[in-house]
Subunit: 507 residues, 2 copies
């Protein structure tokens, strides 16, 4: 069966993507009502004690957040304890998975983990999943789709494990103090609200009450203190440096000119940028023009980086709405500057609430692993068909923003990036306004006004097909990837409909 963007969706994986957002209805699931007597203690001696107290059993679902990125110790530590307790057949439902979670491969082999729902997968785990190691397909959700699924009980979390850089003895949590500081805890906030049991794991246990309170004690069942919950070097990418790649700088310059000439570049405009080299270079170009023309942005959104903080501190951006901090500068800023506000994933991007922040975006700059001639974007699988990325907030921000810009090199290694048909669609072409490469810019024909404006600005415009030909001229047409028949991944669109599936790669 083909969905609205002509992707083959086998029966049994859910409602195929319709081409627009499903309308929601009904009520969210309610949290389990519990009580705690005055002066009761929530601190347990060990992770195992907490897992036992939680009532975790075979067949249940456990969740984690990915704010520690490649520095996360929590997920592996918890799976080790669960394995030692002999609990099996669990669904692993973190907000995302990274290369550091390679040990999950072994827990899959042992039957501890038998299904996975996540935004992304990287490293050896992703390779093994791509080859078909897991019995059931991984469910891929966007950062906005995950809170939607949790609130509707489509994803029911039995026990949430929340790594907390700072926690008090009663379970108030924040991410801004301690040696594992990660800044915003935007993804974990949703888990805390809906999971049947919530275990906070910290290496920085304080007296009640801490400040700020990002996740309140009213949502936390147990608190466990361990030696270390994360490796700061993996949590933080360190000071974000601007790219010196001439290719990335050229892409950034073009993207900036697209914004400046889009008709949206005026006082009070809003902006989301990624954390890649080109995005950060856009920040620098844009800042210069904003200074010259005395234009201030009303807010910056998303995962926040140092360059965005610089713009806040210079007064070029009035507020930052931050679901995830990418570097130390962002952590310090969200801790110290009240204009830099922590938001949860539902506030950020959930399509099924009364107005998430992506809905007010003027401009978003997003990356791509591949773009096709229908402007569909893949940020999930490599050209070789192997999973290597994450859905993230890509489709969410693309849907919300008035101007969605994809910045990407035209070729990567020896492979074309603009192609006939992407391996995996994460964001449908209907959400994309323009693709910016170092060789030229392709405007989605649906946005006639933008095309006219960029023509007038004498930017190097091409059709998306022309970009594709340009790329293929340099690389040749790559060999077709050999896929098997097994569905190893189901990609949900943000509303829960199925926008694509990922099939196993054959060696």
């Amino acid at each position: 069966m083909l969905n609205a963007i002509n992707r083959e969706i086998p029966e049994g994986f859910g409602v195929p993507y319709s081409g627009d957002m499903i309308e929601p209805g009904g009520r969210a699931v309610g949290h389990l009502v519990k009580s705690v007597r005055p002066h009761e203690d929530k601190v347990l001696k060990s992770l195992k004690d907490a897992i036992i107290a939680s009532g975790l059993k075979d067949g249940m679902t456990i969740s984690f957040h990915h704010h520690f990125r490649e520095g996360d110790y929590i997920l592996n530590m918890v799976l080790e304890a669960i394995d030692e307790l002999g609990i099996k057949n669990l669904k692993l439902a973190p907000s995302s998975l990274n290369s550091c979670h390679e040990p999950v491969v072994d827990y899959i082999k042992k039957g501890v983990i038998t299904s996975i729902e996540t935004s992304g997968l990287r490293g050896r785990l992703a390779v093994e999943i791509s080859k078909g190691i897991l019995g059931k397909p991984v469910i891929i959700r966007s950062h906005g789709g995950r809170p939607r699924a949790i609130e509707s009980d489509e994803l029911h979390i039995d026990v949430a494990f929340i790594g907390a850089p700072c926690a008090d003895k009663y379970g108030n949590l924040n991410g801004v103090y301690g040696s594992s500081a990660c800044g915003a805890l935007g993804y974990a906030m949703v888990d805390a609200r809906y999971a049947d049991c919530v275990i906070a794991i910290t290496d920085n246990l304080m007296d009640y009450p801490i400040e700020p309170i990002s996740i309140p004690s009213t949502l936390i069942d147990y608190v466990v203190c361990v030696d270390s919950i994360g490796n700061p070097e993996g949590i933080m990418s360190g000071a974000t440096r601007f790219t010196r790649s001439p290719k990335e700088l050229l892409i950034a310059e073009y993207a900036s000119k697209v914004i400046i000439n889009s008709g949206l570049f005026k006082d009070g405009f809003s902006l989301q940028m990624g954390s890649g080299g080109a995005s950060l270079a856009v920040a620098r170009y844009l800042s210069k023009v904003m200074r010259e023309k005395n234009i201030k942005a009303s807010y910056g959104l998303g995962g926040i980086t140092g360059p965005f903080v610089d713009m806040l501190e210079e007064g070029l951006v009035e507020k930052l709405l931050d679901v995830q901090c990418f570097d130390l500068k962002a952590v310090e800023s969200i801790r110290d500057d009240k204009r830099h506000m922590e938001i949860d994933a539902s506030y950020y991007a959930n399509p099924f609430n009364k107005g998430c922040a992506v809905n007010n975006l003027d401009v978003v700059i997003l990356s791509a692993l591949e773009v096709d001639t229908d402007f569909n974007v893949n940020v999930m699988t490599g050209s070789d068909g192997i999973i290597m990325g994450a859905s993230g907030g890509h489709s969410d921000a693309a849907y919300g923003a008035k101007l969605t810009i994809i910045t990407t090199p035209l070729i990567r290694g020896r492979l074309p990036i603009v192609v006939d048909k992407v391996q995996t669609v994460i964001t449908p072409g209907s959400s994309i306004d323009v693709v910016v490469t170092e060789r030229g810019i392709a405007v989605n024909p649906k946005n006639k006004e933008l095309m006219d404006r960029l023509k007038e600005a004498r930017l190097p415009l091409y059709s998306i097909e022309e970009l594709k030909h340009m790329a293929e001229k340099m690389t040749g047409r790559p060999d077709e990837v050999m896929f098997g028949d097994k569905v190893v991944g189901v990609v949900q669109y943000r509303d829960g409909s199925i926008i694509d599936v990922i099939r196993n790669v054959v060696d």
Copy 2:
């Protein structure tokens, strides 16, 4: 039928109070799932437009918050619009009602309002209710009981009206900026999370996004801008002044000595104080001794006043957890000092979550209209049986704190305050440790340790019966109030069980 504290509870009003807290079970109700498309506008032209858009119909329930106290314009304004639209038979469920809500009497007469659930009632409305004007009894809940009832759907809010001193066009709200600034919006936060439709009414409409965000846009359906939502003179009591009444100063001195000698007065202790003269005088006495002994409190809780802010600023209290600001100094502090944190009513006092803030209290100082020889406390009805107060956080804090102190003059006017049997029980005697009057102190015999400690400190101790006799000696035994047979009020304990009923007074 008698409940556990021997109050006569007629059949049909609910489960009688058991003497301890009911254990909760099951799930909370989920919110209605809605969505808003990108760049849609939430601002409607008039209150009537918003009421129409909300789908409000005969028989539904509407809610309000009472952070504007005697300065509230919202409730009367909304009822006027509802009346003009011809909607009738509504349940009025504000967090509390004040004297300024006298017009509700007329809406009851007109059939617009046919039932009421609130924490308190004052002024002419309270008098009329006491006489039996309303067909059904008013349900009285504590500040912790209300979020419990909302979360369990016992109190289902169809449309919540939230007066917002500062709102942006997408419905982010805070209470700290604007001419009607009231500080914390702790009560309204719960309504916003659970009501089927939420209308924000502001006189200070800003661009998206405001800072801070106390109530997020994701919960707000419509925003309406009006000329004025409140009278600052009624919202704020102005700078809180210390009492000069020798009687209140003596009560405060005794209460301070009770705390200092309780065994709880040590570094890191926690404290809730009221906003009355004696409570504020306690703050001053206590501060002096804290300075001398170098003792710091970990947190102050509750409705926050200027004197508590002084303690924060001096470093005598490390944090403030604030559900409601009582004066301008508290508003400025919650706006500017991050150690002064806004909390919602569920976080403050809901017995049915995983740990509300009253649970960690060491000491609370509470007032009383009457106390009886079982230590039961009335803060609801006067000695004449007429409703004149509010349940507030009285029973919540009393249950949570290790040391619950009632401060009250022994007689008021010509009436004894310590009596055989209070007109209405709000807080059961089992939660009260000590009653402090200007003539002496009575310790609840259940707290033997406290009695020993206070004896050793040579404080003027009496039995509660002795205090009662002392009072009656001065006033004589007052005439019995004549009550009718009609139940005009049902007092819920914080867990929802029925601790008392209020009968109509007969002229």
